[in-house]
Each structure stands twice: as C-alpha cells, then as structure tokens.
Amino acid sequence: MSSTSPGPFALEVSQLVKKYPKAAARAVDDVSFTVQPGEIFGLLGPNGAGKTTAIGIMTTRVLPTSGTCRILGVDVVRDALGAKQLLSVVPQRTNLDLSLNARDILTFHASYHGVSRARRNALADQLLAEFGLTERKKDLVSRYSGGMAQRVMIARALMHTPRVLFLDEPTNNLDPQTRLFLWERIRALKERGITILLTTHDMEEASRLCDRIAIMDHGKILICDTPAQLEKLIPGGAALELRVLLPTGVPARALVASGHGEASQDEAPSSQLQQVLRSLPGVVKVEALHASEKADEPTNLTVFRLYAQDVSALTSQAVHVVTEWNAELLDLHQARPSLEDVFIYLTGRNIR
C-alpha cells in the first residue's frame, strides 16, 4: 500500500507470529500489513484462521511470539498502557458488565480512561441516542437482546474517543436489520476519522464496509487488496457464461472470415473459439470449461466464461461470434462472482 501519507500508520503490523505452547501450528504466522488513518481494514477468513488471535495481539491481550505491532507508532507490547489509550475493542463475545445498566457501562468505561464526569455523561447520552438505546438505558444489560448488547459494546468502545477501533466479527449472529444498522454506524465512524479494523467471515460485510481486505487462513495473510481488486483476481467481478455446443469439423475459414484473432488451424475448435472470444474488446480472460463428465451431455459442449469490466456490452458481440462459428448457443447468463469465490480460489475451500 502507499506510504506517502505523513505521520505514523494507524496500525503497523510487522512479521507477527503467535505460537501457543501446546499447539502444533502457529495461530498467527508471519503476518504483516499496515492500515492508514481513517481506513476500514478487514481481516477476512474462516473460523480458526487466526483473526481473533491477531486482534488479541493488537489489543494487548495476547503476547506475540515474535514480530511487532504499533498503533499510531506506539508499540503494543513495550507500551501497552499507551496503546490502550489509543484503541478500543468490540469483542466477538459479549463481555458487558452484567451488574450495571447500559448508561453506567458507558460512563464507567469513560471514567477508567480519565474522561471527566460532565463529558462522559454528555457523551453517554449522545451515544445511547445514536445507537437507539435511550429508552432502555437504565435496564441491566443482562436483559438485553444480542443486537442491543452489541450496540452497547460499540457505544462503550467509543466513550474514550479511540483512534483505532477493533471490531471482532461485529455482526455475527445478528438479525439482518441490526446488521444493516451497525454497518451504517461503522461507516459513520469512518467519516469521523476513526480507523477501523474488523474481522469477519461475512463476504458481503467485508465488501460493503472495507476499504481494503486481507484474506487470512491458517494464520497467514494470503492476499491484501481492495474488495474490487480482489474480486477481479479470479473469475469473479463480472463474467459472461456461454454454454455452447460446438459443431463438429469447424471450418477454419470461419475464423478468417470473422476477422478475429490469430488462432492456429491446428488447435481444437474450443481453443480456437476461446481465442476468438479472448480477442473481443474489453475481455480480460476467457476460461473454457468443457469436458463435461456427465454421460447425458454431448462431448462437444463447452462452457466459456468471459471476464470483462463490462460484460453487458460484450453480450451481443459474443453471441455474434458464436453464431459465426455455426455453434449452438444453449445458454447465456451473467455470473457475478464474489469474495467468496476469491476465498475458494485462494484456499480451495468454503469460508464457513
């Protein structure tokens, strides 16, 4: 990523390793990345990928085996106290003080961080209103639903105006309405200039919220980029899928007549057509997925996946090429690959 902005990174993780004494594998394995101030950075990976351990290290609760982590230049191991003043955490599991009501939870948290009484009271009321908790602010949080508890935890995390906020699977197991509400709040926090690192195994959440995403598995970061770039990484962002029944004995002159490509006459018809399709304007990549193993499908059936920025504009040209080849177009549709496809592509397995 660019390092042109002045001042320290909001978060700078360098060669971080965590190996628990009795574990065979490293929970976090040589992880490095940086996060710019004001950025929403996502750690995406399946359960057990090492996301929570990584957050634990960044938030002073887990000691790294090696490597460093700095929050706005403050080393979280050497100066845990300084780091704690800059960060806030919303953990995966509820850890609210069950002996207190929502308002007390917020004001006590602020008082731990030295926020004056007048300011913490005003801030608590403001955040309770912002998170839709005012009416039940005097209730013990043990009576709260999961969604409400999550809102209290995020409000609590904001009480000492942290510079970097860690959200560990913030919308896991929440109803869709609460999820949307929290996404909206998280975006609002970014607008306030708060740097956010969130972990998730929800692809939609990652792609909707994050400026950049690091995909993590088995303790390692496999790739780190913007959601759009990640989706372009593999057949994903936008693909046109054509199911084509190729004619037997394709005349090579069809190629010449079409004026497309420079395919050799020696190649198989599907490869020739693949190259022609590849030469269409805007096409980034073409995959030919033939060799159907189903007994009831003809052997000359080929599925072509065309990847391009604007596949809609490609449709008529693709149909035209197939027609010119005297091939039978059985089906044509747009495939919309997602981050989930990226993850499967990188790891060979589903994220959940």
């Binding site: 806030s88 609210l96 731990y112």
Partner: protein, 284 residues
C-alpha cells in the same frame, strides 16, 4: 482503496488534559475500585446476608445456646468470637474475589473492560484484592455488631488493644483476599465445588476458629497443620487483641509477633503468586 489524508480526518480528540502516566493510572485504578463499591452498594442486602448468615448462626449456637445448656464453658464465647471474626473475614474475602473471578474469567469476561483500561494487569489484580479486603473488613466489623446483639453478657472484648485489633483485621483481610486471588485465578468455574467442599472446610477446621492453638497442644499433628493455615494466625492474633485477661492473666495465644509476621508474609506471597496466575489467565 480510498485515499485518506490527515486533513480529512475529523477524529474527536479527547477534551481531557494531557496527564502524566502516574495520574492516568491512578485515575483508572480509583474508578475501577469505585465501580466495585457502587455495585456492592447497590446490592447491599445480598452482601450483608452473604457476609453475616454464617457468623450469626455460629455465634448463636456456639456462643449462646451451647454455653447456656452447659455444653461449653462460660468463657468459650469470648475465646470463640475472635475466630468467628477471622472466619468471617476469610469467607467474605473469598466471596469477594474468588467467586467473582472464577465466574468472570470462564464466562462473563466482565473484567475485559478493566483490563483494557490504562493500567497494568497487576494493578487490576491488586484492585480486586483491595476491594475484597474492604468487603471483608466491613463484614468483619459487622460481626462485632451481631456478636454484641447475640452474645449478651458473653460479649467480652477488651478495648485497650484496638490498634492491634485493627492491624490484625486489616492484615488478614489483605492476606485472605490475596489468597482469594490465587484461587479465583487458578481454578476454573467447573472447580467451584472445590472452593466450598475442600477449601472452606479445611480452612474452617484447621484455622484455630473453634479452639485456641495452645488447647490442642496434646495433638501435635493438628498444631503443626494449623500453622500452615493463615486463618490460624488471624484467629490467634485477634484473640490476643480481643480476649480480656482471665484472673489477671492474658489468654495464651501464638506470639503476636509471629502472627503478624505470618500475615504479612502470606499477603506478600499470595499477592505475588495471585498476580502471576491472574496475568497468565488474562494475557495469553
């Protein structure tokens, strides 16, 4: 990736003045302590019941009923009462820190918010000990009121050693709370039965509560075992401070110097050990 420059950042910086580390830590420590006091004050009835049911029952049976029917000597309540004070402090300490820690570290994780406050893990542990010690001292103090009401004429406490009385109570409250930290941090919640079935029982019967140390001199093994229980030093120390002289002779107790030394030593050892175990539980 969106390009974000510092000029576009509108973080609402804290309005609080820049403070020294010491002040920051002190403020955090005080408010964590205040949180515990507020929670206790809001549940004062359960706290008082938890603290006083057992000493009330003990004092009534052993201090009133049994001497009344001639099962024990008339002086027994005066000898027994310091043991009850020490036992009350012990129980209140463990209830104040062990039980809450066992449940918290294995389940609620309420303590996380305090662990992320700007103070060291060791100070979070120390706060737990100090808070439990205060609870224990309040419970121990209330025992005097209960005893005064229950024992009637049997309530005999010398008033010329109040300084020593307070010192022993404070030291034992600290020592037993530090032990509570060790147990609370070391035992997982599924071992909670150990706290009641083993630790409370063993402490109760080897802590010189029902008998003085010199009374069991004929059973050497018991005398030696009691020396490994800090409750014995508290019971004996409190006897030295509370029991009036009989026929001009002070009651026979363990030498007060050794009792005080043992209480200080156990406090230091348990606090160091407890902090270490606590740190291992909360920082992985």
């Amino acid at each position: 990736m969106s390009t974000i420059t510092p000029s576009t950042i509108q973080v609402e910086h804290s309005m609080e003045p820049t403070r020294s580390r010491l002040v920051t830590v002190s403020i955090a420590f005080w408010h964590i302590f205040r949180r515990d006091l507020v929670v206790t004050a809001r549940s004062i009835v359960p706290f008082v019941m938890q603290a006083l049911v057992m000493p009330t029952a003990l004092l009534y049976i052993f201090g009133r009923i049994l001497p009344g029917v001639g099962v024990t000597q008339q002086m027994y309540p005066a000898m027994f009462f310091p043991g009850v004070v020490a036992l009350t402090i012990f129980m209140a300490s463990l209830q104040g820190v062990s039980l809450s820690l066992m449940l918290d570290l294995d389940g609620n994780h309420e303590i996380d918010d305090r662990l992320l406050a700007p103070l060291t893990v060791g100070l979070v542990a120390l706060e737990k000990v100090l808070y439990a010690a205060v609870r224990a001292l309040v419970a121990g103090g209330l025992t005097f009121v209960i005893a005064y009401l229950i024992l009637g004429n049997g309530y005999q406490v010398r008033t010329d050693s109040l300084g020593l009385l307070i010192i022993v109570m404070v030291l034992y409250a600290l020592s037993s709370s530090a032990l509570g930290l060790v147990l609370g941090a070391a035992l997982s919640a599924d071992k909670i039965y150990l706290l009641f079935s083993l630790i409370f029982s063993v402490a109760l019967y080897t802590g010189c509560v029902y008998y003085t140390w010199s009374q069991v001199s004929s059973i050497k093994i018991l005398q030696i075992i009691t020396l490994f229980n800090p409750l014995s030093y508290a019971s004996e120390g409190l006897r030295a401070a509370m029991v009036p002289p009989l026929h001009g002779q002070a009651v026979a107790t363990l030498p007060i110097f050794w009792s005080l030394l043992a209480l200080v030593a156990t406090f230091v050892i348990f606090l160091a050990l407890g902090t270490r175990v606590f740190r291992k539980r909360v920082i992985s």
